[in-house]
């Protein structure tokens, strides 16, 4: 009897479906996007499942830092710079060349392609949901999106454009001078304003509402029973949530998950044992559209990724995260996990391409 009273209390507590966020810009994301929460039907009366679900509620708006607030003019400028290949030395590589909206803001390749068509050592990460990110890049070497945005432009192996040269190119175009003045009135065209504008645009790149979100909001028929079992596995037996935590399915942390390869990852920056071969936890949003997987594209499919975790990592090194242990998943459990992961994919969203200034 007391168990049922507890369950009813939990249901009453979590049926609201709201979330508190910090600094917010209105209008871009979410007002009215949430359906009415409903109490789950009898099939969902699993105490664990009910408690876990509260951790996956989408935020209602995008956070912007106080010193780089959203404005439509800033987002337009950032979008224009992001899609402009003239920011590269070769004049053919834009940010969007690797972060292609057609590949869920990645490039669909095992390893990124940089300047002179040379392969880079790591895979292109998606830019989805970076408004909520902490450190940037697979190894966390940038502290903010504003800082991150300039690094691939300057990198000799990526866009290979000295910042001074990039600023000269942009400043010579009347269309850009107008866009900068509208976005950052009174401020000069500088690496700082370029980085800030690109960061504003990147923060607006948010994964859309997926069937999983409908389920979290209370629509029990939004995902099938296999996916629901996969959700339970994700949170319990497979314990994926220990790293892929929250609505964005990342703890923004760094872990050696036993991926094959010699790359030291964050260990190159931080000489601690736990950081050797450690890479940033990626979001799982739209994951089935973003293969191949891992920081080096070494796993071709989501099934392969599940196999990696089921065997407790491909490489058993001293730095392997303690959370990575053999899972002993059955074939049905793997199918359920896969079914669950596919519910995180949102329907395709139209991307607005900018007219590039002359």
């Amino acid at each position: 009897m007391s168990t049922w009273i507890l369950l009813l209390a939990i249901l009453a507590t979590f049926s609201g479906g709201t979330v508190r966020t910090g600094h917010i810009e209105a209008g871009q994301f979410g007002a009215g996007q949430f359906g009415e929460s409903r109490r789950p039907g009898p099939a969902a009366l699993s105490p664990g499942r009910i408690l876990w679900k509260k951790d996956y509620v989408r935020p209602q708006s995008i956070p912007f830092p106080a010193d780089n607030r959203f404005s439509p003019e800033r987002a337009l400028l950032g979008r224009t710079l992001f899609f402009d290949p003239r920011l590269s030395a070769s004049k053919i590589l834009s940010c969007a060349r690797c972060h292609n909206p057609g590949f869920s803001w990645g490039d669909g390749l095992p390893l990124a392609i940089g300047d002179e068509m040379k392969e880079l050592p790591r895979r292109t990460p998606t830019i989805l949901n970076l408004a909520w990110a902490d450190l940037l890049f697979w190894d966390g070497r940038a502290e903010s999106l504003e800082e991150q945005a300039l690094l691939p432009i300057e990198s000799r192996t990526e866009m290979n454009q000295p910042v001074a040269s990039m600023i000269r190119t942009v400043s010579e175009l009347a269309g850009y001078r107008r866009l900068f003045e509208q976005a950052y009135p009174g401020e000069e065209i500088s690496p700082k304003t370029v980085g800030r504008a690109i960061a504003v645009f990147e923060r607006t790149v948010v994964s859309g509402r997926a069937s999983f979100d409908e389920w979290i909001a209370g629509n029990e028929s939004a995902i099938d029973e296999s996916a629901k079992r996969g959700f339970d596995l994700f949170n319990a037996k497979a314990a994926c949530r220990k790293c892929h935590a929250g609505w964005n399915f990342t703890d923004d942390g760094f872990h050696d998950t036993g991926v094959r390869g010699m790359d030291k990852g964050r260990g190159q920056l931080l000489p601690l044992e736990a950081m050797q071969h450690a890479f940033k936890t990626p979001t799982l949003r739209n994951a089935d559209q973003r293969g191949p997987y891992m920081h080096n594209g070494s796993e071709r499919s989501l099934q392969d990724v599940l196999e990696l975790y089921d065997e407790g990592g491909r490489e058993k090194r001293p730095s392997l995260a303690p959370e990575i242990v053999p899972l002993h998943l059955t074939a049905r459990e793997k199918a359920d996990l896969l079914a669950f992961l596919k519910t995180l994919t949102s329907p395709g969203q139209a991307t607005e391409f900018p007219l590039l200034p002359h």
């Binding site: 942390g253 601690l272 044992e273 736990a274």
Partner: protein, 107 residues
């Protein structure tokens, strides 16, 4: 709580308050966050870092002169770190870099 237990706790608190005696402070790691973001202690004091999460943490500092690394700490684990001299140490969890703590050590 009995009156005797209360008296014991009160006595323990007085012991910590004796001037000149090194004190032991506690910082809890829960929900991938430290229980506080800043703490001021005296030279010779120590901080016990307790992992109350169900994930591994790795508290460390690379502040020059105040470096330490308690290495991986399993859920439920505790580690005591002494702070011998004055300074300001930036403490983080290497696994979850959002976790930040500023330790100010001064007389």
């Amino acid at each position: 709580m009995t009156r005797r237990t209360f008296a014991r706790i009160a006595c323990a608190g007085l012991m910590f308050a004796i001037p000149g005696k090194p004190a032991e402070h506690q910082i809890i790691q829960k929900d991938r966050a430290f229980s506080q973001t800043a703490i001021t202690i005296k030279p010779g004091d120590s901080i016990v870092f307790k992992n109350a999460d169900d994930v591994t943490h790795n508290v460390f500092s690379v502040t020059p002169g105040m470096e330490f690394d308690i290495r991986r700490q399993a859920p439920g684990g505790s580690s005591s770190v002494p702070f011998g001299h004055e300074g300001v140490a930036e403490v983080r969890c290497s696994i979850h870099p959002r976790m930040k703590l500023l330790v100010t050590v001064k007389k």
